[in-house]
């Protein structure tokens, strides 16, 4: 690990000011991902701004939205009564992530900013355009079992690893950001980027911008929801494929639907066309199959992840069935 400066401000403005103009500064909260990356030399910040003392861990309901502070712990949010009552999909997704110990350290802001788990990103002796732009994509012709089937580029086929993000994109959340140029709001779907020619940039945050909170508008998805995470071990594994499914059903007719996938793209993958195909239909397996077909349009696999072309639609059907409680 390299030497670095360390500051721990107590005010939000001080934190943003402390970030300064140095490109290799990083905010640190739970550190569950950043510290690993620093120990392996994948990220080598020269300055850490510890934001744990900022008052950003509150969870409040106000004017039809639930506001979750960026420093709220994953475990706290997952168990929070209002989250469970209003947005059970988010609680399920959080509980599916990492391990109990990690959830007790990891924050909401940090969770959405965690870096990909691509093997090539993690090993500094192998090429990776995300870690070292221009060095090549190790995964493209390599071991790409965990990799993307949507939205990839020839520069990067990595996937975004967060479960929480999949639920948040489905729930039309908004990310609240504060930075040197002031505050702004980013719709969750616009937070993460597709890799394109600049896979080194995971998100659309500008340097020095700090996530302060995430806001979720009230919605009717309080009952028929399911977060399905497919993995080869029962806990503490990243998703092969995951699905966030939320349905608003009246008289067995789907009035509204939200659907997103994880483990398939460089960002949490919202499936708006599939959602449209569900609305107004009966909540039956046939409907769900059709939605899965729509969702999979444009999917393309690599040498080791072709299984996702079947696992993903199957998982969509399964998640919708469980959300709708269709046997």
């Amino acid at each position: 690990m390299n030497q670095f400066q360390y500051v721990r401000p107590t005010k939000q403005k001080a934190a943003i000011d402390a970030f300064g103009r140095e490109a290799d500064t990083q905010f640190i909260a739970g550190g569950t991902n950043l510290l690993d990356l620093m120990k392996r030399g994948v990220m080598n910040p020269t300055k850490l701004v510890d934001i744990n003392r900022l008052p950003l861990d509150r969870i409040d309901r106000d004017k039809g939205t639930l506001l979750i502070g960026a420093l709220a712990l994953n475990s706290t949010v997952a168990e929070h009564p209002q989250v469970r009552q209003l947005h059970p999909l988010l609680g399920q997704a959080l509980s599916a992530g990492a391990s109990a110990q990690l959830r007790n350290m990891a924050t909401v802001g940090g969770n959405m900013l965690q870096r990909t788990r691509c093997y090539y990103f993690y090993d500094t002796a192998m090429p990776c355009n995300k870690r070292e732009p221009g060095s090549g994509c190790g995964a493209l012709e390599g071991y790409n079992r965990m990799h993307a089937i949507f939205g990839f580029s020839d520069k990067c086929i990595a996937v975004h690893p967060s479960d929480m993000s999949v639920a948040l994109v489905a729930l039309d959340a908004t990310v609240l950001v504060s930075g040197p140029k002031g505050d702004r709001r980013i719709p969750f779907g616009g937070l993460h980027r597709l890799p394109g020619d600049t896979p080194q940039r995971d998100t659309n945050l500008e340097p020095g911008e700090l996530i302060t909170a995430v806001s979720i508008p009230d919605n009717p998805f309080t009952k028929n929801v399911h977060y399905l995470k497919v993995r080869e071990r029962a806990s503490y594994a990243f998703a092969l494929v995951s699905v966030a499914a939320a349905l608003h059903i009246e008289n067995n007719v789907i009035r509204d639907a939200r659907l997103a996938m994880g483990g398939v793209a460089h960002k949490p993958w919202r499936l708006t066309e599939a959602e449209k195909s569900l609305i107004g239909k009966l909540a039956t397996e046939a409907t769900f199959r059709q939605a899965a077909d729509v969702a999979m349009q444009g999917a393309r696999a690599f040498k080791h992840n072709a299984y996702k072309l079947k696992m993903a639609p199957n998982s969509i059907i399964q998640a919708l069935k469980q959300a709708a409680a269709v046997a």
């Binding site: 071990r233 029962a234 594994a237 299984y307 399964q318």
Partner: protein, 757 residues
């Protein structure tokens, strides 16, 4: 005699571990926890190519970094005097030798240690390690097993000795399975599985004088390590002291001395300070052994009524270019079933990788996956229940050696396991039992491992305070060796366990074998029994006139033991079981012994009964699994492991061992795979996020049942080993259950959802 003092006996008691409290309170000291005066820290730099040579190493920046005391590479390293001088470590002997760390510029595998940085703190050592810049001239490496199968060879030991168990074996007619009315032929593959005990590999190396070395080292063999380092450094064995009082799991990982150990010893010599080196978790994947990638083909044939006609079993295991690692993959095939014709062929495939090493159930666990899967496949072809098929080919004597079994209670294991798992629920037709979205299946697999025993010694000393102190240079890598030795000694001496102290993990203690091959209780336990007998004999001699003519076994260390109560405040007296009036105080005995506490060394060694009997432990594992119809996820929902392992000395520690083996088997069957990207010859799954060992949520209720019948031909306690049979046969039990659930036969482990969807 034990009945006199302990109504229920000490042997078999599910006694708590004698060191359990120390372990859970942090009081147990592991190798990296010896804070010697002047101790400094170190970090390794690993190669980033798999084959070739170092053309230059720039250590300047590292040397200038704060706190750095030395940066040692092949350029400036002192030469280890015992390293052979040949160009390649496997020349001229093709059996090879361990990697000679910092010996020359040659690279044999990726992440091979090329430098060690010594600094005053760990952080500074690691930081400086990142500053070492190495240039290589890479050569074309071969790390792909599949691309190199034609290069597989017969191991040298089998070439030299046609009677080697690794040599080609033909019982009856070669490949006779082909003539059978019902037959199948199938290939099975397991990937490399990496050693990852909870405790990382760690060593503290301390040169107490120029020719006197002490190491606190995570090893399974303190004596073997002592010999290896004495040979390396050309110093007398007694000048090397190896301490491994506590070992946080090893599973075979500590049965070899690895490059990092010698790197630390070199560093300690060069900086003149004790040096600590602990590997990172990522380094555990690259340089300290693993269960080797193996390809197998089984041909098996039977008559329509299920009598085996022949089995042909071929296996090829991966090894490194510089050492021939071999294991007994095909042993179970030769002796388990009554087949008149058995053909086995074992080969090894040298690749540009680090050397594999035994991993729990070494070889046999690999072989049993193929053999027990093939039998399961055959059972469906024959439409005979898998247990019934095995019973129709049950062997009442060892068909390989043509010797009677010392003991074999395998039929009892089948019965106990079938009852407990609910075998009657198993559908005869696969894919027909459902529980909602899940398909349910049942499977079983058999395991066996030699009931090994090796010569061992133990010292016994009766302390003036009444404690019997036993010492032996064995280790306890987790099974509870220290605890069961206390029980064995308590039983042999008629004393309560709390009157016994057993010490291990120190090379200055009497000679004992490595803790490996499921042989520790039989070997060291026998030495403890012998030492206790010697102690009684010596006490008899020193007892004085009243004891003349008495038998040693009647000697009691008795006055503190009054029926089941032990009172340490009473004076210590030596007496006779046969005559309560004969007594002598231990202080008188001490006087007669020249003021010295009475001390003896006992030795146990196997006798010629091993030429007359075939000795094996047996296990049968049963699994109930559920496979999700939509996602392909597999969950093991229940397991039952039954074992014929002779006398069970401690039902709690033995049960723990069986459960641990079952969980290891779940990993082998469902999750673990070390994958190499062959373009770079580098592992890609090399941390716990990407290399999946089972977690708690993957382990279902695991029920353990022991036959618990003594085998007194193996050793005086009647024990047979448990460590290996706990995992051998687990992976096929799960694979067979997956087939029973889904009708899909997965012959390449691990059985991940992508293979089932």
């Amino acid at each position: 005699m034990k009945d006199l003092f302990f109504k229920d006996g000490v042997i078999g008691d599910p006694m708590n571990r004698v060191d359990g409290r120390l372990k859970v309170t942090g009081g147990a000291r592991y190798s990296a926890e010896y804070e010697l005066p002047g101790l400094v820290h170190s970090a390794l730099v690993g190669s980033t190519i798999a084959k070739g040579r170092i053309t230059s190493i720039d250590t300047k920046a590292a040397e200038r970094a704060p706190g750095v005391m030395a940066v040692i590479t092949h350029v400036n390293s002192i030469k280890v005097p015992g390293f052979a001088a040949s160009a390649h470590p496997s020349e001229p002997s093709t059996i090879g030798q361990p990697l000679r760390v910092f010996y020359d510029e040659k690279i044999y595998f990726n992440d091979q240690p090329v430098a060690i940085v010594v600094a005053d703190t760990l952080e500074r050592a690691r930081y400086a390690a990142g500053l070492v810049k190495v240039q290589y001239a890479a050569e074309q490496h071969q790390t792909s097993f599949d691309a190199n199968t034609s290069r597989a060879v017969l191991p040298t030991s089998a070439k030299r000795n046609p009677k080697s168990p690794l040599a080609d074996y033909d019982r009856g007619q070669t490949n006779a399975f082909q003539t059978a009315p019902v037959k199948l032929e199938a290939e099975y593959v397991i990937p490399s599985e990496m050693h990852n005990p909870m405790e990382l590999q760690a060593i503290v190396a301390h040169w107490e004088a120029a020719d006197k070395l002490t190491v606190y080292d995570k090893v399974q063999a303190v004596k073997g390590t002592q010999k290896a380092f004495a040979k390396d450094w050309k110093i007398p064995e007694e000048n090397v002291k190896v301490i491994a009082t506590f070992v946080g799991g090893a599973f075979g990982n500590g049965l070899h001395n690895w490059p990092h150990e010698t790197a630390a010893i070199i560093a300690a010599k060069m900086v003149g300070r004790p040096v600590k080196l602990m590997l990172t978790r990522e380094q555990m994947f690259t340089m300290v052994g693993y269960r080797p990638h193996a390809w197998q083909r089984v041909g098996i044939g039977a008559t329509p009524d299920g009598k085996l006609v022949g089995i042909t079993h071929e296996a090829t295991g991966q090894t490194s270019s510089y050492e021939e690692f071999t294991e007994s993959t095909l042993q179970q095939t030769r002796m388990m079933y009554q087949s008149p014709n058995v053909t086995t062929r074992y080969r090894i495939l040298p690749l540009d990788v680090s050397t594999p090493i035994w991993m729990r159930g070494p070889g046999e666990a690999t072989g049993a996956f193929a053999l027990e899967s093939a039998l399961d496949e055959l059972s469906y072809l024959l439409n005979i229940d898998p247990i019934e098929l095995r019973l129709r080919n049950y062997t009442d004597q060892d068909p390989e050696k043509n010797l009677p079994w010392s003991t074999k209670f395998l039929k009892e294991c089948y019965q106990m396991g079938a009852d407990r798992i609910g075998w009657n629920k198993r559908p005869a037709k696969p894919g027909t039992l459902r529980d909602g979205d899940w398909l349910v299946g049942y499977g079983m697999g058999v395991g066996t491992f030699g009931a090994n025993r090796r010569p061992a010694k133990a010292r016994a000393r009766l302390l003036a305070n009444g404690t019997v102190l036993l010492q032996s240079a064995t280790t306890d890598i987790g099974p509870g060796t220290g605890t069961v030795m206390v029980q064995i000694a308590a039983d042999a001496l008629g004393l309560p366990p709390k009157a016994i102290v057993f010490e291990l993990g120190n090379s200055t203690f009497p000679e004992a074998p490595s803790q490996g091959g499921s042989a520790t209780v039989a070997s060291v336990g026998s030495a403890v029994v012998a030492a206790c007998a010697e102690l009684k004999k010596k006490l008899l001699e020193l007892g004085g006139p009243g004891f003349s003519g008495a038998k040693p076994e009647d000697v009691t260390i008795n006055s503190r033991v009054q029926m089941r109560a032990y009172n340490s405040s009473l004076p210590l007296e030596i007496g006779l079981r046969t005559n309560a009036s004969v007594k002598v105080s231990y202080s008188d005995v001490l006087q007669r012994n020249g003021g010295q506490e009475v001390e003896v060394v006992g030795e146990g060694r196997p006798g010629n009964e091993r030429q007359k009997y075939s000795m094996y432990s047996f296990s049968v594992h049963f699994a109930e699994v559920k496979v999700h119809t939509m996602t392909g996820e597999v969950r093991v929902t229940k397991m039952v492991s039954c074992a014929d392992a002779g006398t069970i000395v401690n039902h709690k520690t033995a049960g723990n061992q069986m459960i641990g083996g079952a969980v290891g088997g779940i990993g082998m069957a469902l999750t673990e795979a070390a994958v190499i990207d062959h373009r770079f010859g580098r592992y890609v799954t090399k941390d716990f996020a990407e290399y999946h060992v089972p977690v708690q949520a993957d382990a279902p209720a695991i029920e353990v049942a022991f036959v618990d019948k003594p085998d007194l031909l193996v050793d005086p306690m009647g024990t047979k080993g448990i460590g290996e049979i706990a995992i051998i046969g687990v992976a096929p039990a799960i694979a067979n259950a997956v087939f029973n659930a889904t009708g899909k036969r997965i012959r390449e482990l691990p059985i991940t959802p992508d293979k089932l969807i």
